[in-house]
């Protein structure tokens, strides 16, 4: 039922909006919030409370309290009083066991009081231990507010946008609009943020959203639904207003007990009658001022009490079925279905406190205020304490008279008794008590319970509010969806120029860092075997590729790597392991000398960024005459490998690819299928092979040419998994798989790569120390005695204790054996030594191998 048309109402009566409440179709109007539409349809109970499942109705109507939170289209904890009504919305009550009118768990309200005091979960449900799974199952199902639909998937995309302004005004009330006008008049670029401003100001940009806090560096994130604006402003004006405070008395949570804002909004915006007979109990003018709204609505005001003058000491609300039916004022019963309570206003200082403002208690007015406002910040209006009249509602704490519960914190269902009990238990500091009782930790984040709880603390401790002090105000100050904070991922996925060819061939794709790569094309074992038998091709475009040039390029690489690069002939390739000054292995790759002062460095697929940063950093330290260019994305690469790869190359290039003219570890420029390329003859996979580097855009052309020309040679693409088998057969290490952040080149069994005779290189001194102190562990190969493949990460057992770990393990079809690599104690790093590996709870035997399993002398590579 609506009142006759009211001046300034927000609803458009000519435009009905249909939606669903628990499956039934109901109707509101354009301009309604979900809550006002439901209220208009006669709904009074909106939710059940957190702990006692007490019926709760509209309290603030301005998005502060938790009472109107519902599930809308599967999204939990939607504050229905500030969420606009939309056609077809599906609205459901939450935290309800049974129905809104009859909730099974409301039994906790009847009998639970003595059994479920604050912190009961710390003390009860501990014994017997065996029963914990039962307790846990129950507690998990009843705890929390709202339920997330786990099977729903993503329905919303969120974005983050960086914004700047000269002046950012937070809050679009009277004071905020005035401040915006003032700054705009002085010619500044002003942005005003408010989800529901009182008006607009010409020359001021309005952003409809909610500032959720002030973070370090003056960052103000603004929640604008699906966009999070990260605002930076030279000046921030906080005009967040004041928060109307509830009174603490028995039954202060009954449906029908409201704050003045609820009356103003229900009547003024949505033309709804909040009740038929009202009592007003107020410690300031705001509560009394609702009289005019009540009159407009035709609500009879049975009693209006100004606590600043009246001697009323005890207030108790009485209800039936959770709904208010009378109020007792010092024992005098007054029938009513609406009780407007106002405990004065508390300035919304949280944003100022986030930014470093000091919060102090103002004795005269009984509120907390911010002093020492940091530079660049301005507080105006009620947030600064302006217009907040004096009035400390002393009567409101006297809850002893009633039988019903007296709520200090309605979000978390904490009563005055709970707080007293916490004090009796010794939680006398406000910060500790907060954590124990959870007062101020619910959805309202203290807006409604902070001040009343501190008052109660002060009274119980027989001191004043100033000495109790306040808890730290933390961001976010308004509820915010997690999706909005997560935003969109900032690291985009990377695809090689051959991505679509892999998809066409039915490759199973996997992640390697940010890259998408083919795991295999269906049969890793057969793909690996095909490389040994005839010819395989793999996309290795993901390798990091850096060009290091300049007069001091050779000297630069000599200083960075433990081995030599200055003595390399032009057109030759050398393997390199990059280490830190602590001697730890960071990355590996091949380095080709293309000219006297021009090197081509490849890195691991995931290491490209880190290696580039590392190179650039050392060059910033040393200031050498070197230029470093990252060509990772611009250059694609494929590796063709297998006994038939030479024949393939003769078909694709004019180059003399005979073993004499193009030997192992040679690098040559040539056209491959017409594409200008750099060809590196290297063999990560253990067979004769050529790594062809070429401009990325030619990817598909070159790939097609290889498959076409290789058709008669048994060519078959292979993925990352077969490559892992092949490299393991050669004991070629994978950085990050076989090594970790502690590994050094000596213990990783690559002493040949360390040239300690060089005058200096990064990591030299630490490696010298490793050699001096002796090895603590060593990376070796192993071969399983009975063919079982142990798990990667599996334990090496030495004398019944953990003594090492498996880093890689695979079944090799080529060798007909289960092979792997492992870190073992140095005394076991002997050819043929027996090691024990934990597999499925049992222990399996293996033999240590120090030389590659396949082609230990590298004849295939050099052929």
């Amino acid at each position: 039922m609506r009142l006759p048309a009211q001046p300034g109402e927000r609803i458009d009566r000519s435009r009905p909006v249909g939606f669903f409440f628990h499956g039934s179709r109901v109707t509101g109007f354009e301009g309604d919030s979900i809550a006002s539409a439901l209220f208009g349809e006669g709904q009074r109970i909106f939710s059940r409370s957190f702990k006692y499942h007490r019926p709760r109705g509209l309290l603030c109507c301005r998005g502060t309290c938790p009472n109107c939170m519902v599930r809308v289209d599967g999204v939990p904890n939607v504050r229905s009083c500030v969420t606009p009504l939309r056609e077809g919305q599906r609205v459901e009550a939450q935290n309800v066991w049974g129905s809104l009118d009859f909730d099974l768990l409301s039994i906790t309200d009847k009998i639970g009081g003595p059994f479920t005091p604050v912190g009961f979960y710390y003390r009860t449900m501990i014994r017997p231990r065996r029963a914990w799974p039962l307790y846990e199952k129950f507690l998990r199902s009843v705890a929390g507010l709202g339920k997330v639909d786990e099977h729903r998937g993503r329905t919303q995309r969120y974005d983050v946008e960086h914004r700047r302004a000269e002046v950012l005004v937070i809050g679009g009330g009277r004071a905020g609009l005035e401040a915006a006008r003032r700054h705009a008049a002085e010619g500044r670029h002003v942005v005003l943020v408010d989800a529901d401003p009182d008006g607009e100001e010409p020359g001021v940009e309005l952003v409809r959203g909610t500032a959720i806090g002030i973070y370090e560096g003056g960052l103000v994130p603004v929640d604008a639904g699906t966009v999070l604006y990260r605002f930076r402003a030279e000046r921030v004006v906080v005009a967040a207003g004041g928060v109307e405070q509830p009174l603490v008395f028995p039954g202060n949570d009954l449906v029908g007990v409201v704050l003045p804002s609820a009356v103003r909004r229900l009547v003024g915006r949505w033309s709804l009658r909040p009740g038929t007979r009202a009592v007003v109990v107020s410690a300031d003018d705001r509560g009394l001022d609702t009289a005019s709204f009540l009159e407009r609505a035709g609500t009879e005001v049975a009693e209006a009490i100004d606590l600043r003058e009246s001697r009323v000491r005890q207030i108790a609300a009485k209800g039936r079925g959770g709904r208010l039916h009378s109020v007792e004022l010092d024992g005098k019963k007054v029938d009513c279905d609406l009780l407007v309570m106002s405990g004065g206003r508390q300035p919304a200082y949280a944003l100022l406190a986030h930014a470093g403002g000091r919060v102090e208690y103002d004795h005269a007015r009984g509120i907390f205020l911010t002093s020492e406002i940091p530079s660049g910040l301005e507080a105006v209006g009620a947030a600064a304490g302006d217009g907040i009249s004096a009035g400390i509602p002393a009567a409101t704490y006297n809850g002893a008279s009633g039988k019903d519960k007296c709520f200090v914190c309605i979000c978390e269902d904490v009563t005055d008794k709970d707080v007293k009990r916490a004090i009796a238990e010794g939680f006398d500091s406000i910060e500790l008590a907060k954590r124990y009782t959870t007062v101020t930790m619910g959805p309202c984040q203290g807006k409604l319970c902070h001040l009343p709880s501190i008052r109660l603390y002060a009274r119980e401790n027989e001191t004043d509010e100033a000495s109790i002090g306040t808890t730290t105000a933390r961001q976010p100050w308004q509820p915010v969806e997690l999706g909005l904070l997560a935003g969109r991922p900032h690291e985009p996925a990377q695809r090689t120029s051959l991505h679509h060819r892999h998809k066409e061939l039915g490759a199973k794709m996997m992640w390697t860092g940010s890259w998408r790569r083919p795991h295999s094309y269906g049969d890793p074992g057969a793909e690996a075997k095909n490389v040994h038998d005839s010819l395989g091709v793999i996309d290795v475009s993901t390798l990091g590729k850096l060009v290091v040039g300049g007069p001091e390029a050779a000297a630069f690489l000599e200083r960075l790597y433990p081995n030599r690069f200055g003595d390399m002939k032009t057109g030759r390739i050398r393997y390199g392991v990059l280490g830190s000054d602590a001697g730890r292995i960071m990355d590996d790759g091949t380095i080709a000398r293309l000219a006297e002062d021009d090197y081509y460095v490849t890195t691991t697929s995931t290491g490209a960024g880190a290696v580039l940063e590392w190179f650039e950093w050392w060059n910033a330290v040393w200031g050498m005459d070197v230029r470093i260019v990252n060509v990772t994305g611009a250059v694609a690469a494929v590796n063709v490998a297998g006994p038939n790869s030479r024949e393939l190359m003769t078909r694709l290039t004019d180059l003399d690819v005979s073993n004499e003219a193009f030997s192992y570890l040679d690098a040559k420029h040539a056209r491959v299928a017409g594409v200008p390329s750099l060809i590196l003859r290297i063999g990560f996979v253990g067979e004769l092979g050529y790594e062809i580097h070429f401009p990325s855009p030619y990817g598909e052309h070159l790939w097609d040419a290889i498959l076409e020309q290789g058709a008669g040679l048994g060519v078959r693409p292979f993925g990352l998994e077969p490559q892992r088998i092949l490299r393991l057969e050669k004991m070629h290490i994978l950085i990050g798989q076989d090594t970790d952040s502690e590994s050094n080149a000596f213990e990783a069994s690559m002493p040949w790569i360390v040239k300690l005779e060089k005058e200096d290189f990064v990591g030299k001194w630490s490696l010298e120390h490793v050699q001096e102190r002796g090895f603590r562990e060593q990376l070796v190969g192993f071969e399983m005695t009975n063919g079982v493949v142990p798990p990667e990460g599996g334990q090496i057992v030495v004398g019944g204790r953990p003594g090492g770990r498996v880093t890689s393990s695979r079944w090799s079809e080529q060798l007909g054996r289960a092979i792997g690599m492992a870190w073992v104690p140095p005394d076991l790093a002997e050819e043929d030594a027996e090691i024990s590996i934990k597999v499925d709870g049992g222990v399996e035997k293996a033999r240590v191998r120090l030389r590659p399993f396949f082609d230990p002398d590298g004849e295939h590579l050099r052929a």
Binding site: H162, Y215, E216, G217, L219, R230, R232, D581, A582, G609, L612, E613, E616, W617, A620, V621, W622, G623, W765, S766, E768, H769
Partner: protein, 85 residues
């Protein structure tokens, strides 16, 4: 952390665009004693106050530079690009 860091090339940018490589240390000129080596590698001063640090504008110009930052307040007092020797 959400402070702004002034890149010498790109101007003030959100700190999440940068990599920090920690305080500026001095690499020993000659082979250090073991004690000197470990203190160079592992013992940072970790001051509560102003320290010189290496930063790289990873998502911007990719340049390395040094910044003087107050570790207590995250105020960046100055930045400079190291001089070429």
């Amino acid at each position: 952390m959400s402070f702004l860091l002034p890149c010498p090339n790109c101007g003030p940018r959100p700190v999440d665009e940068f990599t920090c490589a920690g305080e500026v240390t001095v690499r020993p000129k000659d082979a250090p004693t073991f004690r000197a080596l470990t203190s160079y590698l592992y013992f940072k001063r970790n001051v509560a106050g102003v320290q010189r640090e290496w930063w790289c504008h990873r998502l911007g110009c990719e340049a390395w530079f040094m910044a003087e930052r107050d570790t207590r307040t995250n105020d960046v007092l100055s930045t400079d690009v190291p001089a070429r020797s």
